[in-house]
Symmetry: none
Subunit: 210 residues, 4 copies
């Protein structure tokens, strides 16, 4: 077999073996997708499944949370993209459905495990935020701010708060209630949050498109 070695700069010594790195992330991914999730993930297990010495794992990651985070986010990140339909509600709704599809898939299990581990591991939750949530937030804020400028959205609401209001219920269902995240749910959620829970006092005509 051909070993792939890294060639970074002109440092002396044997360069890092990229095969090992890949094998470790691959093994981690597979274990995370298994029945036990993050609880079944052990450094020893990773090393063995990757056919690698334990030292090699520890050399590059300080703990299993880091490996898990990297294994997950390098693989899953590109999958969720924002559309751009011109309508705030449509953009958000489509992206929500996309997100829910990911959360419902096998990857959702891994993500759940990761988020669970994060409750007692600050680094892991930080990785979760910075590598998973923040990239989406950037795009989300962009869409919302465009909607504010176009007059579609109220200008007096903090954008992050608005995103929390939209996505919070999804995470609540996903993380705590473990309920299905289907299209109907997304539609109803969008409607409720965009329009508000209160009855309209005036007989203003509401135009809810579904």
């Amino acid at each position: 077999m051909e070993k792939v070695l890294e060639k970074v700069e002109n440092r002396p010594g044997r360069p890092r073996c990229l095969d090992a790195r890949r094998a470790i992330l691959e093994a981690t991914w597979e274990i995370l997708g298994g029945a036990g999730g993050f609880a079944d993930l052990t450094m020893e297990g990773i090393a063995e499944r990757a056919g690698v010495g334990k030292t090699t794992v520890y050399r590059w990651w300080p703990n299993k949370a880091s490996v898990a985070a990297e294994a997950f986010f390098t693989r899953i990140e590109p999958k969720v993209r924002f559309p751009d339909t011109g309508s705030l509600r449509e953009d958000i709704r489509l992206q929500m459905k996309e997100l829910c599809k990911v959360l419902t898939s096998r990857n959702g299990r891994v993500l759940r495990a990761l988020l669970g581990g994060g409750q007692s591991d600050p680094e892991l939750i930080e990785a979760f935020r910075s590598q998973w949530m923040e990239p989406r937030r950037v795009k989300g804020r962009e869409i919302l701010s465009k909607a504010v400028r176009s007059g579609e959205m109220r200008p007096d609401i903090d954008l992050d708060l608005a995103l929390d209001a939209l996505y919070g219920p999804i995470y609540l269902r996903f993380h705590v209630k473990h309920l299905p995240l289907d299209d109907l749910f997304v539609d109803q959620l969008c409607d409720s949050v965009f329009e508000g829970l209160l009855a309209k006092t005036s007989a203003r005509p509401r135009s809810r498109a579904h």
Copy 2:
């Protein structure tokens, strides 16, 4: 020391020692509140701190998640109650602030740890739902349904979805973003979700009281 023994019915055998039970839950509670949270909780540690044999712990609880759940929920449950001001928005807002106070306190740490453990332990998450969330939900649904009847709230929204919309953002902040949960946040959150995110197209006068 005086040992307190249970006297249930006329069963043969030595009755269960209530001191042991109490000591175990107490010890668990203290460990959970410590620096490491759920990660520092070990069955051995519980037994030692409670001055109890490990077997005694295992006799009554199958794993540390169960002990943790019982330790937490028997202690914290009564603390969060709903007010009844007559106004939907006020009731919810006050209760939300109450909830946020709990989540912000030392107990919040325990709860966070518990929910974390629940991601890889179905029984624990079930305990979380049934013993922590559901009792609150019952009262919440009651308030909302009253508001629907009085015309304050839109009748076309599923009550549980509405509660998800209201409380989801709190959990998102609490579990994922680890951001402060202060009164200002609650006020803004209530406003956004009750009124909706969209701009009102007509020049209808909005009466937001803050």
Copy 3:
């Protein structure tokens, strides 16, 4: 089922239940005969198999060694008897074969286990000596002393030493070497010890009857 109760004297309280005693000894016997021997014998196991409370076992025997000893010796003792042929060598030889038959049987396993346990339990080894070995010794000494009086055996040898010389090799084979104890072995052993190992210097006619 009819419970058999003891009626010793006019002592107050419930009399001892003889069924329990018998069941305990029976259970002990069965466990001792199993694959693990003395190592598989536990007070808990005895109580359970006998359908008896642990307390009842502890009330009458201080430890499992005592139970084992009583279970074994009350059952096996009557089996070994000395014949009386009139000839010292014949009596001993026949009894030896009888003994070897017992040691070779399933009971031998129990006995081996018991003696093993006795190495770290003074009470057990004492029970072994007083209840198993000594009764035989009494009879053995009798036979030997008769043989001394009749001139068949040398009068200058301590009787116990003689018995050690005769039976020691059997125990050595049984306990240490775990070799078969067949009739041929007994015949050769008797011959060697009775006649001595040394060559006869004079041309004295030897009359070895086999």
Copy 4:
């Protein structure tokens, strides 16, 4: 402290630490010599006293019997040697006294414990036979066969049977009867077994040297 590591062949991995091995055997030896003998020997105790992880003990020995056996036999084996006086009876008698001295000493306790454990542990008794008894037997057979050739001993007796006859009584006393093993006993034993128990029919003068 300087750690001594083994250098066997070109095997991969960290070489075995000889210090640990030595410390384990040393600790085992000390515990075996203590008040409780084999009964006080626990894997945990060995590890703790040796300043070693429990895993390290289990890595090299499957159970405490194995550790005990190795601890004992590597230390005690060289102590018992056969003399070579030219006379069969003298050689045996001196060696017997040597053996009895060992059995009587502190080491005797360990050996007794080992032999006891062996009754329910085939591997242990096998170790006892192959590492303790057989080396002596080899030399014993040699002496006896020389005695047969020189005409001092009867040629019609199996050598192993003869050795059983000579040493069996010692083990009987040591293992079962727990009686003292002094020089007088050895002298009388030798006399009885070499000369035989039977009275001499002819008036042949016996020359017993004591």
